[in-house]
Subunit: 494 residues, 2 copies
């Protein structure tokens, strides 16, 4: 092996190992840490992040990257990612990185208060600082990467898809939804209300069932844990996955569907190519790709008719209650309920993209200097009205609802809907290639689906960007028609 | 501040912060990690250890240490510790460190098998490798530090006490025990057998009581957690303490006394001087000092008559049962039972030092080249017979019982008994200085004891070595008479 490339691989592995340590400490902070540990933990994570950045940007890295040569598709992809990551890591002056990190930390704290009081004015100056520094960041990254500024921000979360590709897809979805949403609501109304599930649902029993179903979906708990945290997530490392959820004893679906969602993320991490562990090419292909894996398990598989049949039997066995409430058609009424709502994280599958499209348009306009922070609440209200025909009752349920911008996370939002669309596209391809996939899901068995995903998605690591990954797996780039066909079948068929 | 010293302080803080990350990952590995995470965790810990060693031994450290000047008692002690630690960190050739680490890892794995089969021959070659490399290590450290080889090994665990000081203390204890043990057994026999506690003791209730009593002893659970692990320990960092225990539903004392023991360790960490956090002088004063704090809580306070009165009431309220079984005199029979046994970790307070003295003599002889590994089983049997008048039925219950040597941990064993002796000495001083200390313990209230320890031990960090710490706190160096007086009062008074 070319010695420069060999040194780069060794360095990447060392940096990745520190990243694993950070990931575990991050999980602990959310799932285990007593509150008094927060200050020391922040210092530990900052020290690790600083060391990783120092290692990634040390002068000898540039020399090695210039001299490195790689042979074979995977090594070449790995080296290309090293070069790409190095451009991102060195594009920003240290002063800008530090100012941006400070501004985001400060703004996020103020945001928590402002949201509680539904008072946008309180956080406006801090958000103005964040946006100014995010614009500078986007400009600097854009120059270094040869991309448009907003594309450079998206690239930090999902490589291989551009605004030029997304914009027409999102515009088309807006048109689809304008027609589909009223029809879906009419059909839903005609079906009548759902029967409630009995309950209560003791947390212990919910936990046991969630873990059993997660294991049945393919997650090996000798390499994973299920715990609780305020905000569910999938963390840890590929051989030691940590997923979390939150239990309410009055309701069973939120925790269960949440665990199935995180299980999708976890299965992706578990299926990454072990031979490339701790190398850039061995990671997941990006946040949209990751979201496609959580949503294919939750939205495509678990909320589909076949799996609802299985779940109904499991729930009735665990908690009792009558047959009618546990029939798939009733569970579909409960768990595929469509509604015009203001809150993204509570939105159903059909309206969720509207929330994302709104945020995509607004954050892109902010990065490109076409929208000022002062005008955000009005722009939000206008956009929401246009997309869903409703108005937020206050800013807490409007432009203050999500942490992303206040924490400096610009460019992430599209990943949610790109993931949902990719999930539909991958599910269609998996179904076509795998007879019996739905029959197996009807027995709670995701092995045929998982087998297909292992080969066509998980084992690919980040060798390919999003569009190329979809081409590789399904024969075409992102095609929203598969998503709208899925929605049409599920919500627009009386 | 002298710029060299300022740089050294910044470096020490950074290294300490990585040490905190390691500590949390170590806790996780024992208390939380699924088995499949082991390989990645080993890599994470090795990478952090390597980075810490690189930082501690970087060429500029020697320059800064040469030029550094510190003012004031604490900074001077801090700088002296930096110099001492640097000598230890640089005394060993990298090849020796790596060979030793590999030999210990290999030997420890074989030892687990050999112990299971009570087959010393199986692990003998691996232990010979370990001992050979430990001898080399001791020689190199001794030359660098200007100490005797075995002292240099002890110094790695407990600074400020020498073999020349310990040996006569241990010899005197052997003489004391030869007289005391038969008398204690006679007195115990005359008192008759203990009434058993009813049980069962559901793990949930044990956990709740253990945490409540630990909190009552002064541990603030906004800075701590109590979890389960195969081998109980106290880990984490001073603002985020993690203690563990293990519950058996048939028996209540082991977990409860274990938690009280770990609470003593935890309270020490919590009481370290926050102003010196992440500096050498801000750490605990060594392993014997640490053991003194666990044993002052467990052996001196919790197993004392006053606290047993409190515990009896608590246990009866939680689990029911009759008054006689929960009377302090009966609990003392149960939990202060003396026995000639082969197993160190099951030993009572009176015979425990015999197990330590045996190991101290044998490991010192191995380090000094006076005892070969091949002769260890015989030397063990002879020594045990001389100290306790019993013989191990096999090597699993003889020289294979402890992990220490097989894992390369030579020089640690004396800490257990030095800690027990220091605990008695500190308790006597605390009692003298603090009227009402025992009356408070009778109500489950350790505040007077803890208040005294905070001032005289915890807040001192590692400013002083063991002997100087005891002089500072009690007016005299280690004095085993306080320990034998305690044992005489507890076990030799009919």
């Amino acid at each position: 092996m070319n010695p420069s490339y060999a040194r780069l691989k060794a360095r990447a592995a060392r940096i990745a190992t520190l990243g694993e340590a950070s990931a575990m400490l991050g999980w602990d902070a959310s799932a285990m840490m007593p509150p008094g540990g927060g200050a020391a933990r922040a210092e530990q994570l900052a020290t690790l992040a600083g060391l990783m950045h120092e290692m990634a940007t040390a002068p000898e890295v540039a020399d090695d990257l210039a001299a490195a040569q790689a042979e074979g598709e995977w090594d070449q992809a790995n080296l290309a990612l090293m070069r790409h990551d190095h451009i991102r890591a060195t594009a920003l002056p240290t002063a800008l990185v530090e100012a941006s990190s400070r501004a985001s930390s400060a703004c996020e704290k103020i945001w928590r208060e402002a949201r509680r009081h539904a008072d946008f004015a309180q956080v406006r100056p801090a958000l103005e600082d964040v946006v100014r520094l995010q614009r500078e960041t986007a400009q600097a990254l854009a120059a270094a990467l040869g991309m448009a500024p907003y594309d450079a921000m998206m690239d930090g979360f999902q490589r291989g898809v551009t605004t030029a590709e997304i914009e027409p897809i999102f515009d088309a979805y807006e048109a689809f939804l304008a027609d589909a949403l009223p029809r879906a609501l009419d059909i839903q109304a005609a079906r009548g209300p759902a029967l409630p599930l009995a309950g209560p649902f003791p947390a212990d029993r919910q936990r046991a069932m969630a873990q059993a179903i997660s294991a049945r979906l393919g997650l090996d708990y000798s390499h994973a844990r299920l715990d609780e945290s305020a905000h569910p997530f999938c963390g840890g490392t590929p051989t030691d996955i940590r997923i979390t959820t939150r239990y309410r004893e009055s309701e069973v679906a939120q925790a269960l569907m949440g665990v199935i969602h995180e299980t999708g993320h976890a299965l992706y991490e578990r299926g990454l190519p072990g031979a490339w562990a701790r190398q850039p090419v061995g990671y997941a292909a990006g946040m949209a790709a990751h979201e496609s894996q959580s949503l294919i398990m939750e939205m495509q598989a678990a909320r589909g008719d076949a799996f609802l049949g299985f779940l109904g039997r499991e729930l009735q066995a665990a908690y009792g209650g009558n047959d009618a409430a546990h029939a798939p058609a009733n569970l579909a009424k409960l768990w595929r309920h469509v509604e015009r709502g203001c809150i993204r994280v509570e939105a159903d599958e059909l309206t969720y993209p509207a929330h994302v499209i709104l945020r995509f348009r607004l954050e892109r306009a902010m990065i490109e200097g076409r929208l000022e922070v002062a005008d955000l609440p009005d722009a939000w209200a206008e956009g929401l009205s246009r997309l869903l025909g409703i108005a937020p009752p206050d800013d807490a349920r409007g432009c203050l609802q999500d942490i992303h911008w206040y924490d400096g996370g610009f460019g992430y939002f599209p990943s949610y809907t790109l993931g949902a669309m990719a999930a539909a596209q991958l599910m269609r391809a998996a179904r076509t290639a795998t007879p019996g996939l739905d029959a197996a899901l009807g027995q709670g068995d995701a092995a045929p689906l998982l087998g297909w995903l292992r080969v066509h998605v998980h084992s690919q690591g980040s060798r390919l960007g999003l569009q190329d990954l979809l081409r590789h797996a399904t024969g075409k780039p992102l095609d929203p028609a598969d998503f709208t066909a899925h929605l049409t079948a599920r919500y627009l068929t009386a």
